[in-house]
Structures are given as C-alpha cells and as structure tokens.
C-alpha cells in the first residue's frame, strides 16, 4: 500500500473528531508502513529512545533521499509514516524547507514530536535534516 501524502494526512486527521479515531488512524498507518529487512536493522542505524526505538536507513537516489524506517512501537511507526509522508523521496531542498513542527501542530500531534518524549522521533527528524544539509 502506498502511503498518503502529507496533505492527505492533514485532511484525513481533521475529519476525525475524537482521539480514538485519530489514534486508530495512526495505528493503521503504522501497520501499513513497510517493514525493514532484519539485516538492515543494525546498531548504527538505531536511535534508542527510552520508551521505544527507531531504525533509519537512508539512501541517496539521484536528487532524492530515500528512507526506510521502523519502530518497535506501532504508534511510533504510525508517527514515522507521517514523517515519511513529508520527507520520502524528496530533494534535500524540499526536506529542509518543510515545516515539520507546523505539520505536527496542524495534526494536533505536536506533543509526540516534542523533545521531551523519549520515542526517538525528534532524533530521526534531526538525522534526516542533517542528511539533507549534507546533500545541499
């Protein structure tokens, strides 16, 4: 299944009026995020949060950056799918221009990306942006 775009996600989430539906949507997104190959989940690709962990594998494909991501927690996986909707196969320039905090605010999920949450998401965003900076 192909993941929705960031605009589609904002629209979809705006449609739900209770937290349960919103979380269910994120959980379902998390389930549909393609799993990484086990041999790709190496220690150097691991961002260990104190509650959950995330792996990030990145590749440069011409102008574009391609990522594989996976978390051991399904909700974090869903949040990663939101991040991927913004960053997957984009150019370094697009990635750096994207307002990720504004995006999570629009989704009313900013508390999940806040630096105080030990889910590794903030660190993944920083890694992706760092990569994009090196490319541009």
């Amino acid at each position: 299944m192909s993941l929705p775009s960031s605009e589609e996600i904002i629209d979809d989430l705006a449609f739900f009026d209770d937290w349960e539906q919103r979380y269910q949507y994120i959980i379902d997104l998390g389930k549909s995020l393609p799993a990484m190959q086990d041999e790709d989940k190496t220690e150097d690709r691991l961002v260990r949060g104190c509650q959950s962990s995330v792996w990030l594998k990145s590749q440069i494909q011409g102008e574009h950056l391609h990522f594989e991501v996976e978390s051991d927690a399904i909700i974090v996986n869903g949040l990663l799918a939101l991040v991927m909707a913004a960053y997957q196969d984009k150019t370094a320039k697009n990635i750096l221009a994207f307002d990720i905090d504004g995006y999570f605010q629009a989704l009313d999920l900013e508390r999940h990306i806040s630096p105080t949450r030990g889910n590794g998401l903030r660190a993944i965003v920083a890694k992706i942006r760092h990569l994009a900076e090196q490319q541009s």
């Binding site: 937290w19 349960e20 979380y23 269910q24 959980i27 104190c50 509650q51 959950s52 051991d72 927690a73 399904i74 909700i75 974090v76 030990g118 889910n119």
Partner: protein
C-alpha cells in the same frame, strides 16, 4: 483507625488536575510522588520568610535558615532511627548517595576483592559499582533472581564469601515491586564482614524504615519519592565509617583548614557536603517526613496492600496481560506487558485517557534482558491512590488492548 482517603487526596493540589479533559490518574509514583500542600507551604515559607545561606551567619536571617536546615536533619535522623544526626548526609538524591559510597569504596577495593549486587538493580546501584570495580580491579558479582522476580536466597548465600567486601542491594525493586528480605540479607553479608548499603529509593515511602533494625551500614534515599522536593536526598551511614570516608566533592563548607599546598577536612556531616547545600530542599523534605509521620502507618500500609492486591487480581483476570514480577512480597508496583503490544503503545493510549504510567526499561536494562522483555508498562501506586483509580487503569487498558489489536 482507617485512612480518610478523600481528606488525604485533598491535601495534594495536583490530584485535582485534568489531562485532556479527563481526571488525572497518577500511577507513576515509583518515578516520583506528588507533593502535599504542607511541603509546598514549607518551600514557599522558606523563600518568603527566611532565605539565607546556612552556616555563615553574621545575621539573624542566616541563623534562622541554619536552624531550620539543621532541624530538618534531626527530622530525618529521627525518622530512620539514626544513632546521631551527624550520620545524616544531605545529597542530591539516592544516586549521589550511592556515588559517595561507591566512590569511597573504589579507593579501598583491590584486585581479588568482590562486590555483590543483584539482578534487580536500578542503574544507580549497578553502574556505580561496576565503575568502582573497573577502577579498583575488584570483581562485580550479581546475585540472581528467580523468574518471578524474587531474589534467589540460596545463590545469594553462596555468593557472599570472605572475599566479599561490599554488598549493595535494593530495599524494594523499582521495576518489579519485589520487597527484599533486607534484614536477613544484611545479616548474611555482615557474617562475612562485608559492608552493606541498602538502596532505599523505593523502600522509604512505605513507612517504618529503621536502620538499626536492618543492621546495614548505609541506607540511601531521595526526597522526591517520599512526597518531598526533587534535588534532595539522604545518605545515612554509621558514624564510625562516615568519619573517615573518602571525601566526595571538595570545596567550601567541607574543609577545616586550607593553604595553597593542602587542605584538611571538616568533621561530619559537613565533610561530605561540599558547597552550598539544597537548603530549601532539605526543609521541604523534612516537611514531607513530618507530614508522612502524622499518618497512621498501619492504615497506610493496609491501604497500599489493598491497592496492589486489587491491581494484581484484576491483572490476573485480564486475558492477554502478563504480569512481570510475581514475588510473594510486593509493594507499590504492577509491571506488565500486553501480549503482542509494545509497552510504549500501551502508555500512549493510557496517557490519552488521563492515566499516567511509565513504560520502558525503568533504568534496569540488564533486568529487562534477564526477564526477556524489551521493557514493561509499570503502574506504581502511592498512598493517595484509590481503588477506583485501579479500576480506571484496567478499563483504560481494555481500550488500549482493543485499539492495538
């Protein structure tokens, strides 16, 4: 006398908070407890009425601050049955207290010596000893637990021997809730001449800690897990040991005489308390202890037992839930996993329902590996929690389970 729970709860302003429009159900008490108004008032009173640095009194305010601060030391000494007020050393918390002891031991240990900790340590009582052993060449030994989270007493007995110089173990496990038979374990360690530290971070808030009765040499705890402020804690140690213990930090307050070439150290308790102490913290901690001591300890303990019993019964009846840690003597903690779900996901969905628990490794990574789980969800109870809140936990868990299925 039974506990008037409504009156007790009313003393904790934060308990009337709402989270996302739902009443806060605070079940993260092993991480830190909430503070009663009496503690908040003591902090405000100190800063509004008598803030000054201590022990440097050229003025009335400094005298008053010093009196309150030193009186707080008496309160702690009395609370844990210290022989002398000088045996109470203020620290920033349990972690610093253990560091003072481990650092001092590192200077006395040598190759061939052994230090014994357990498989259920918080990192604060593991990494400290691991590093002390690495520095000194001593061996670190780990007393195993059974799968149910209870210490294997037979294995412990064979691990303490004439080479064992130090034994450090938790009063109560923060990750599993296991209450260790610290008196018996201390006796076994003392029989071979080892020194003993009890990590009391989780033991202190359940009442009736008597260091004389335990028979240990050191007992460490934090104010913030005992209804007091963060940033303050206590190392209790026997006077004869502390008097000659290697100094921890150096600087002001802890010296007797200083020249450019050398310094001599002051006497107890100051020799182990360099720099301006956490004055307000100490006063706040004493206020917490005074508040706690006016409760009926038997009623408090009966209530805590009722909470853990109800939580355990409901957990056992909950299909798809596995309790992590089934020791026969447990207090305050229900650690668990929902089969097929990551603890972090369970925590997210509980949080959304106003239920505050902790998920993860609980600063006990080797313990999690030993138990074969990446982490657990941990509900931890304090004296102000109600049986209704235990019920709320399980109905929130039902929802989490159905959403994550």
């Amino acid at each position: 006398m039974s506990l008037d729970l409504a009156a007790l709860r009313a003393q904790f302003p934060i308990l009337s908070r709402q989270i996302d429009g739902k009443p806060l159900v605070y079940l993260d008490n092993a991480a830190t407890t909430q503070k009663p108004q009496a503690v908040i008032d003591a902090l405000v009173s100190f800063y509004t009425e008598c803030n000054a640095n201590v022990h440097r009194g050229a003025h009335a305010l400094a005298d008053e601050a010093t009196r309150r601060y030193e009186h707080a030391r008496d309160t702690v000494a009395n609370f844990i049955h210290a022989n002398d007020r000088q045996e109470v050393i203020w620290t920033s918390g349990t972690t610093e207290a253990i560091n003072i002891v481990a650092n001092g031991m590192a200077q006395q240990l040598k190759a061939g010596d052994q230090v014994l900790v357990t498989e259920m340590e918080h990192h604060a009582n593991l990494v400290t000893w691991q590093q002390a052993c690495l520095r000194s060449g001593a061996e670190l030994h780990i007393a195993p637990i059974y799968d149910n989270g209870e210490l294997d007493l037979n294995a412990f007995a064979t691990l303490v021997n004439e080479k064992t110089r130090f034994v450090s173990l938790p009063h109560v496990s923060n990750a599993l809730g296991t209450v260790n038979p610290i008196k018996e374990l201390t006796r076994m360690a003392k029989a071979v001449g080892a020194l003993v530290l009890i990590d009391g971070a989780q033991g202190i808030a359940h009442g009736q800690v008597d260091v004389q009765d335990i028979g240990c040499d050191f007992y460490a705890f934090s104010g913030h897990k005992l209804f007091g402020p963060t940033g303050i804690g206590v190392l209790w140690g026997r006077q004869a040991l502390l008097e000659n213990w290697p100094v921890w930090q150096t600087g002001g307050e802890m010296i007797a005489k200083v020249t450019y070439e050398c310094s001599t150290w002051g006497s107890l308790p100051n020799r182990l308390e360099a720099g301006t102490p956490n004055i307000a913290g100490a006063i706040g901690m004493a206020a917490a202890i005074n508040w706690f001591m006016q409760l009926d300890v038997n009623a408090v303990q009966a209530h805590e037992q009722a909470l853990i019993r109800s939580a355990t019964e409901q957990a056992e009846a909950f299909a798809g839930l596995t309790i992590i840690g089934n020791a026969s003597n447990k207090i305050g903690v229900l650690s668990f996993v929902l089969d097929g779900s990551h603890p972090a996901d369970v925590g997210f969905i509980l949080d959304r329902q106003g239920i505050a628990i902790r998920t993860g490794d609980h600063c006990a990574q080797p313990l999690m590996r030993r138990l074969g789980v990446p982490g657990t969800a941990r509900a931890s109870f304090s004296i102000y929690n109600s049986l209704d809140e235990v019920d709320a936990l399980f109905s929130a868990l039902k929802k989490a389970q159905s959403m994550l299925a």
